[in-house]
Amino acid sequence: MTERNLLFGPEDDVSRDSGYDEHPPRVGFFTDTSVCIGCKACEVACKEWNHVPEDGLDLLGMSMDNTGMLGANSWRHVAFVEQRRPAGQEGGWSLPDEMTAQVEPRLRAAPRGGSELGTTPLPSPGSGAVQDLGMPTFSRPGDGTGAEARTDFRWLMESDVCKHCTHAGCLDVCPTGALFRTEFGTVVVQQDICNGCGYCVSGCPYGVIDRRPGDGRANKCTLCYDRLHDGLEPACAKACPTQSIQFGELDELRERADRRLAELHGQGVAEAELYGRDPDDGVGGHGALFLLLDKPEVYGLPPDPVVPTRFAPEIWRRVGTAAAAFAVAGIGAFVSAAFGNRR
């Protein structure tokens, strides 16, 4: 298993290793968040093309983000992060605590801790309660507090999507074969097969895939499998007005991402980093790469996700040992009986 790392690690040709002898090149997305303007055209185009039902009309108080997370009914999700730092300082951007404090109680009160976002709306707070959405006022920053307390401000936007992992946790654990690797190297759920067991929901280290309430089956981005067959690019990439979402062959996208990163670093944007570019990472690299302007966790992404399958050999070794101990205990309980003892 040098170049064919079936459980984890880099893999040159995912489609071949899934049984396609002849296949088109692996495709994916490069989402360059540095040019995202937060228009949500991708979210809308995806819903329209794929007939994705609404995920609940909700005002979340997460800046302009009222989707909240990827989920069964949100296959693209635009994250908005409002950050500030003391004026004139280098680095050290942070989300204002008061914003998080506004949002957190509602997340905590939700039955699924807020991970229902992108699938169903959060339960609404007690009727009549006024919700502070942290909207800006018309006074200038620092007017009330004096010039020293003024802050710099920046607004990060990122259109998130299923990563179409090289080693996809969702696909590995699916017991029905509903989730499969396409000839394009993408990961898709077959709706006529899925029986809604929900294993994929816990197998995905990114919190992407979810079960659709009322329907009972798992849903996520298909990378517009139907459009790919017709030689079209996915709806989100087509709709993106700034080319923040770029579609193409993965090898080419990786080069493009490297060039863009070098360009930004050259311009002094030292905090720019690629996410999912490295084939040596915990999932063998993404099919959908990102250029981020802060740490992944700031956007709600796991910083170093690992496909659960990586632990499979270790897990089954331990299970095997425990099963043997169980069997020995069972035999032992009777062997002493056979030798006629008192108790």
Binding site: I193, V201, R212, V298, G300
Partner: protein, 334 residues
């Protein structure tokens, strides 16, 4: 896994110490979880218990068959079938599309513990059913030739089932650990032993509850071994936990795990001290062991669910790993 964490001392401070950041200052997206909380409901937690019980009782029933303890055998085959039927109902009911349960049988996938489990259960179930059916044949018909034929066949099938029981008792640990859920993944080394012990304790407990004291000695020994194994493995698991120890201590999960330990300890003491002498003592000890086993399963299940609701349990260990790798790299190059 365990080397990834330093021990957690308190809810917020732990994070600060682990991540080397000011208290509570773990970057997140408005505190929203990174992972999806499992869509599995209480039915899956209940199945962890009933599946273990079916396996534990099958082992005792087979042993009783081989050693000629007829009443223990009868009680345990019937108990095993009951637990197995409950398991199937629970598993199918938890599906989003229950009418498609048979899609599980489309493929055999070694990377999916749920697929592996489906096939283990498929190997386990029929023999338990056959053995239990024979136990239901009225005594006055048992000497007829069809009944004798049934006995011969069902005995073989039942014994073969018991051979797969260790798999039934332990694969559920892989089912939970083979996920991105921090509270389940990070206990992957110990969970199989906790579940194996829990299954043996519940199976033995059932035998003590349902069979006369004279015949139940092997059930008592199996229960005592299982309960001891579960208690030790569970303690060890807790000792080795990093940040996720919080979810195993707090809230409903913490209460259930403490209850499980108390009941299992009490059941173990009863098994060793009184269950060999009094039927009432045996029944009480058996019930305590069954209760302890069920609480253990619910505790572990709920701890995992809780660990997905807070981004810290996902982010902190991963960030720590990245920072450590970066330090290693700079130590090499610098």
């Amino acid at each position: 896994m365990n080397g990834d964490h330093s021990p957690a001392h308190g809810p917020r401070r732990a994070v600060a110490e682990v991540a080397g950041q000011p208290p509570g200052d773990v970057a997140s997206y408005y505190g929203r979880p990174v992972l999806k909380t499992p869509v599995w409901e209480w039915k899956v937690a209940a199945y962890l218990f009933t599946g273990g019980l079916a396996a534990g009782t099958a082992v005792i029933a087979a042993g009783a068959d081989l050693t000629g303890a007829a009443r223990l055998r009868r009680a345990c085959w019937l108990g095993s079938l009951g637990a197995l039927l409950a398991s199937l109902v629970l598993l199918v009911a938890d599906l989003g599309r229950p009418e498609r349960f048979h899609h599980m049988l489309r493929v055999a996938k070694p990377t999916s513990p749920m697929s592996v489990g489906t096939w283990i259960l498929s190997a386990f179930g029929p023999g338990v059913g056959a053995a239990a059916i024979w136990e239901m044949v009225p005594v006055r018909w048992r000497s007829s030739w069809p009944a004798r034929l049934l006995r011969a066949v069902s005995r073989g099938l039942g014994l073969a089932s018991a051979a797969t029981a260790p798999g039934v008792a332990t694969y559920t640990a892989a089912l939970l650990s083979h996920t991105a859920v921090p509270g389940w993944q990070e206990v992957r080394a110990e969970l199989p032993f906790v579940f194996a012990g829990s299954a043996a304790a519940s199976g033995g407990g059932f035998g003590m509850l349902a069979a006369p004291v004279l015949e139940a000695a092997p059930a008592r020994r199996f229960a005592a071994l299982g309960a001891t194994g579960e208690l030790v493995a569970s303690r060890l698991m807790e000792q080795r936990m990093g940040l996720i120890r919080e979810v195993y201590h707090q809230g409903a999960a913490g209460r259930r795990r403490r209850g499980a330990e108390l009941l299992t300890l009490a059941g173990l003491a009863g098994t060793v001290l009184v269950a060999g002498r009094s039927r009432a003592g045996a029944a009480a000890s058996g019930l305590a062991l069954l209760g302890g086993s069920a609480l253990q399963r619910f505790g572990v299940f709920e701890a995992g669910v809780a660990s997905t609701k807070d981004p810290r349990y996902t982010v902190v260990p991963q960030r720590e790993r990245l920072d450590a790798a970066a330090r290693d790299r700079s130590a090499v190059t610098g």
